[in-house]
Symmetry: C2
């Protein structure tokens, strides 16, 4: 009864936009040979993950089955697809395959994680195929907001899967391969068992627009700007960076790239040949000496990130450059939901400097993802036996499945941790594996459910009271000592909160029975209780409380 | 040389959307008699104000000059205009004037703050005038997203000011007075020294739409829904709540209001006569017994607030009611920038339940603020000698000023704390007063710059290490004791972080010179330094550190 089966298991990316990690398996149940598609990160926020550096998928399932992994494939070089590969690789130790631009950036991830970049093998596009156990995998070029994005055509003994990666239908993306419907038709012809498909823009009802449409508007905007122009976009959108730089040069401006990611992306793009003739740029040192009206800066920080170049400029000088009254700042980007506060903070800081801000304007930005009608076009083109939505929050996946079903197709929402059997007549969930999140916290990986971050959130919401008492036998030695952090100094009684606490805790110790004072746990419980009650009475909140009872040998 | 002057001083609302508090003064410099317009709150967020309950304007200037305050006027009952009046009033003790609906809600604010609601005097609309020292003030009705919003026509010996409050140009708002151009023309005719004007929607380029446009689309949506319908909007938008309820009844559904604010707003609207014949509603208890397809809930929580009815429903049962597969949830609202995460969290939770979500759809929502062309219409109608933008972030104020100037008007951006002299030929800033923010933190008001909240943010970002040592004379008594909160348990050395810390701190104490050990401050400094260094080495982050040195009499 151990008939071979073909399974699909998202470990990240199916229930969020970010942190992509997908697994395919073929073989007897529980013994499937596995391939991994993408190992990305997502970014922390103050609401749910204060102090966390990065969020990675929980690959416990893969770690437990590492010997079954044949290969890892990276579709493109966005952080949410490649960002975790270096750090997670030591648990997987399978060969990593990617095309040239993506592979070079994956190799940098290996270097950053102290791993050998030679584990990343650079491969060619379709019709080249990589054999990985029962899988034969080809990288099928597709347009996206980063060069050299690829779908995967995955042939298995149980049929073919087309895994789109991130994509849009852009026949003139500027940099990177255009959408080539003929190529896709040829590469995906015949029976396709499943189309596993990007869902990001399923709520956008108009057909997607081309990167090429931006050239004229951006050129006009830059030409008309009276003083310095600063533009921001995702550094990885090399086509956009090039369009911006060309607009600067066309307006007689020297162009300077600011931000490490910006320079790195252009370097790797040039090195791997995905862009040729990137416009000449100058250094920040040289930029400082130029008249402002002859200058254009292209900077990181389109999402208002506090440490990026745009935010630094919004706070004052950055590398000797600064914004002035009458300068223009162009957000050639869209604010990702959740990043609004940071972006708005940056905008208002520029506004206070008298900078003219151009933002949230469709003339200067197009999305990198296929819109609803584009998705329908790809469904029709590939004509799969079923559509499995991926790369979306739950609402995107559900809407995408409804769209496919409305067109008479079979579809199923498969969320992180759900193992979907693609072998039978209809795809169906057969089991669930752990697929939480892992936090890079400082230098340490911790589980999302370990409680560490929950405690930090509690400290932020409630403040902290620390109580120290020294006991000797059945009496307290001296007074209790209280310190607070993150709490108002004085409360209702107009006395210092620590004084009120020390007094009330001291009274308890004075009056407590000898039996209580010989029992550390009982003393501790009572001190916590009194501390919470007094703090609630004084300032109206129940703090986190840490009590340390030190006992001298009596 | 103490010529009388007319001044305008925003203490909140000019540099943010929220926390409105404006001051006008007339008299000799430094001795102006004052009136206050609106006393609102703004809401905390985890990024900048974790654990804070509410944010209020810093009215230090008013407190210091309380005897100069003639009166307080409340334009309308939105929280960002009325929310702080009860809590701040004890420092001001001037009569509060408002129209009926607004005044009743202001009186509730007084009750909540333990103050006498009789301090709020209900007054009529223009042409009724309130004399307040050198000011004569009339409430001029205007349409907005809450009933009975009013502009103020403020006559002073130095000329007339028109203070718009929040407004839109809606000739069919459903509930509340329609925009009446004739009335405005009459009330604002003659010389107007300054138009102090709402800037919220200055970036919206199309003319505003009417509340009335929503009736048909909402009716159709509710009629077509197969199962239960739940709709959310701001409770204070009584017109919208009524439109939603009428759509429910028209579709043969019973309507139930969920959420305290929702019921309170409708009650006050009925009591004060701003709405007559509000549709019949049923209790949650009765709703539970009805077939789902005959039911419509109208709930609080359009901004994803964690404790509101919508979020409660997204987490499961609420008052015995719950959402099921095939139900419809309508956000008849727009997500305020910064609230995206909460709204999206709610949406995805509903999506997991199989609920069909309708959101961010212009057919089911219109804004309550005047758009750019509407602002130009009002500028032209009032034809003031200068336009002072208010009610906006800096970028809104600046854009509004540029708009006025582009039309040949005098305009000036006046931010919180800037005292603007309106007497001379051109408005100009003459001085600055403190105008920070005050936090309601638990039950206590604390200053934004007190450091309390900054410490909580540090705890959230860095975690906390507490170190205890007991000294006697020049030696340590026992080992140091370490507790941590919000930090990973084990680090690079694979030993428990607290053990590594206790060992290294213990070694320091053992080896320290007698002179050092007699100096509490020196011991403390060194313990902090070692704790940070060891924690950095072990887990890659520098925590907050609290050291308590207890000294026994030697």
């Amino acid at each position: 009864m151990s008939k071979n089966r073909l399974i699909y298991l998202p470990l990240g990316g199916a229930g969020e936009i970010g942190m992509n990690a997908y697994v395919y398996g073929y073989g007897a149940p529980g013994e499937e040979r596995l391939i991994v598609v993408d190992l990305g990160v997502t970014f922390p926020d103050m609401d749910t993950t204060p102090g966390v550096n990065l969020i990675l998928p929980d690959i416990g399932f893969l770690r437990d089955n590492a010997e079954r992994i044949e290969a890892i494939f990276i579709t493109h070089a966005h952080e949410d697809h490649v960002g975790a590969v270096g750090r997670l690789w030591p648990d997987l130790r399978a060969p990593v395959y990617a095309r040239s631009f993506t592979g070079h950036l994956a190799q940098l991830k290996f270097e950053e994680a102290g791993q050998d970049p030679a584990n990343v093998e650079i491969v060619g596009a379709w019709p080249e195929r990589i054999e990985a156990g029962p899988f034969k995998v080809a990288f099928l070029p597709v347009s996206h907001s980063i060069p050299e994005s690829a779908a995967l055509v995955i042939d298995t003994p149980a049929g073919r899967i087309v895994h789109t990666g991130d994509f849009k239908l852009d026949t003139a993306p500027g940099v990177g391969e255009p959408w080539d419907e003929g190529l896709w038709r040829e590469a995906t012809k015949g029976r396709v068992r499943a189309l596993v498909c990007d869902s990001t823009n399923v709520f956008s009802h108009h057909p997607g627009r081309s990167e090429a449409e931006l050239k004229d508007p951006i050129r006009k905007l830059v030409a008309a700007a009276p003083h310095m122009v600063v533009a921001t976009t995702f550094a990885s959108n090399v086509a956009r960076v090039k369009t911006l730089a060309e607009a600067g040069l066309a307006a007689g401006r020297s162009v300077c790239l600011l931000g490490r990611a910006m320079r790195r992306m252009v370097e790797v793009a040039e090195k791997t040949g995905v862009v040729d003739a990137f416009p000449h740029t100058i250094t920040p040192e040289d930029a400082r000496d130029l008249p402002r009206e002859n200058l254009m800066l292209i900077v990181t920080g389109s999402q208002g990130e506090r440490r990026a170049a745009s935010a630094q400029l919004s706070r004052g000088k950055y590398l000797g450059l600064e914004m002035n009254e009458g300068d223009t700042f162009l957000f050639s980007s869209k604010t990702i939901p959740g990043n609004e506060r940071g972006v708005i903070r940056t905008m208002n800081a520029f506004s206070e400097m008298g900078v003219d801000i151009v933002a949230e304007d469709d003339r200067y930005h197009v999305s990198g993802h296929a819109n609803r009608p584009d998705l329908e076009r790809v469904h029709a083109l590939v004509n799969p036996e079923c559509v499995i939505p991926m790369h979306g929050e739950h609402r995107h996946l559900r809407e995408h499945a409804k769209l496919a079903e409305a067109n008479g197709r079979v579809s199923l929402v498969v969320v992180n941790g759900a193992v979907c059997d693609l072998t039978g007549a209809r795809p169906h969930i057969v089991e669930h594996v752990e697929a939480e999140r892992v936090y890079l916290d400082g230098d340490i990986l911790i589980g999302a459910l370990d409680g560490v971050v929950r405690d930090r959130i509690r400290l932020a919401l409630n403040g902290h009271v620390m109580v120290n008492v020294i006991l000797e036998g059945n009496e307290a030695l001296g007074e209790p000592w209280v310190e607070t952090m993150g709490l108002p100094e004085t409360g209702r009684s107009r006395a210092a909160l620590v004084d009120v606490l020390e007094q009330d805790l001291g009274q308890f110790l004075m009056r407590a029975k000898a039996r209580t004072l010989r029992d550390d746990a009982a003393v501790e419980d009572e001190l916590v209780r009194i501390t919470k009650k007094v703090t609630q009475d004084e300032i109206g909140r129940k703090p986190e409380v840490t009590v340390v009872v030190s006992r001298l040998e009596g």
